[in-house]
Amino acid sequence: MQEKVQHPPSATLSSEFKHETISGVRFAPLLSSPTTIPKLPVPLWNRQRLPKHFPGTFRASLLTVLMCHAADHHQPQPATARNLAALVPADCWHHIFSFCGRNHFRPAPPLVAKNAAFLALVLNERAERITAEEAAAASELRQRKCEAKLQSVLVVARRLDDHLHLLLRNDDNCSGLGGERLDEIRNLSMRLRDISMGEGRGLLDVEAAGWFEDESEADNFEEEEEGEEEEEEAVEFESEEGEEAVESEEEPQEEPEEESESDVEIASDSASDSSVESEFFETTASTAFFSESDDEEEDELEEFQEAEEGAFVQDSDSDAASSDSTRLVRSPAHSFDVTDKPPAKKARRVTLEDLGSAEVWGGG
């Protein structure tokens, strides 16, 4: 009829108590007011109440003491024996007994039982400790996963921020967009910048704003990022004018001359993986590649690089040939190195119209 359930140790009740749930019931609650203090009578022994209301052990002990009191002080056998109970007057004994509680003469629980209780307690605490350690290990593992995921998201945020910055720098790219659309893209860029610079702070705001409506989108995006690194795929951003500018790895310096002024090309770098040590750097190895054929836009790029407060560092070893194709590669120290390595083999077009859609997350 009843279902016994071993209850876990309560947070409010110490380990001195063992819990069992018998069944579910519904009782009226104990009232907390009025706060009348109950006066429970503490049973004290007196001569008149000797036979009643006290356990047999108590009465037997008192009887033994009083019989000893009635005996002689000098005991015959052995000759050195002395009856100390006979030294105290009977009234004193009665007074002493009145201080004894009801359970004063109750035999103590056997030591074996007490040890067994302590042993059970120790085993219980040991089991709880193991459970707590397992929970701590699982929690630490989850924390590491979350940190790794956060790093991935930060990388994505930085990359998209870079892309958006480069695109917004070009007036031709922005000319075809409406004012609201442009503001939306700028806000997105600012939020991405806040996230990337704040080491993830504000990420929840982005999620709340609906940019990460589905967590699987970010995961898919992350997986595709990894896939791109393996395939050494280059991504090219192109303006709305519709000119296709797919560059090959073998001819990186010729393409900017063929493309229009509004073309912006961003490609991944596969050769920089050799110097990668950290996981972060591995995930960021396919960072932006920026190419400009026009001198004005190249100057604008330099201004933009300076405005980044040192976030972009131009490699002094770059030769003159790199003036046509300037590559930005993220370093482990979260800064950018400008290298002159050839771009990747493949390229894929992404237009500005894609920025507001979910395809950006899947193709960045």
Partner: protein, 183 residues
């Protein structure tokens, strides 16, 4: 006819739980017959279960009840006296006091611990230690905690363990009676 149905009875401030609840509680209180244990009934109400427990434990047992309602206290005292008159030397002297069990003085546990405690009303898990501290080692408490009927057993006492250490220090003063001149 209502008295024979297995359902709770309520009349004014007097409440009686369903009979099967008392059966379940008595079963889990694990009462040894004719053993002078001490029993506390928190929210004693009519004193019904105090009388049953007293009948099982015998006249040498100790039975206390705490009831917050004055009318219920008077009713239970009269009912218990009536039962004791009809069944002399069957039950112990059952003492019902008026008061709030949640406001028992903390020093009470130094002088009084109960072997069995029954809760006649639901108590929250937060307030449970206030009553559970009255349990003696090996004692059993049965009662509704929140919405569950629970059995709580005191396995050991931290006070008792700490008290044993201090008792060893007091042993040296127990033999001063030997200086008294023999008669």
């Amino acid at each position: 006819m209502q008295a024979y149905s297995d359902e709770p009875l309520r009349r004014n401030s007097l409440h009686l739980s369903a009979p099967h609840i008392y059966g379940v509680a008595l079963e889990h209180l694990d009462l040894p017959p004719s053993k002078p244990l001490s029993f506390l009934n928190v929210g004693s109400g009519t004193g019904y279960i105090s009388t049953i427990v007293g009948s099982i434990l015998g006249p040498q047992s100790l039975s206390h009840g705490i009831e917050i309602d004055a009318a219920n206290v008077e009713f239970s005292r009269a009912a218990i006296a009536n039962f004791a008159q009809l069944n002399p030397s069957l039950i112990p002297e059952i003492t019902i006091v008026q008061g709030n069990a949640l406001h028992l003085p903390a020093h009470l546990t130094l002088n009084l611990c109960y072997d069995r405690i029954y809760l006649g009303a639901a108590i929250t898990l937060v307030d449970l230690p206030k009553i559970a501290r009255l349990l003696a080692v090996g004692g059993i408490l049965v009662g509704p905690v929140d919405d569950e009927l629970r059995k709580i057993t005191r396995v050991w006492s931290a006070e008792e363990v700490s008290g044993q250490a201090s008792a060893h220090e007091d042993i040296r003063v127990l033999f001063i009676l030997s200086a008294v001149t023999p008669r």
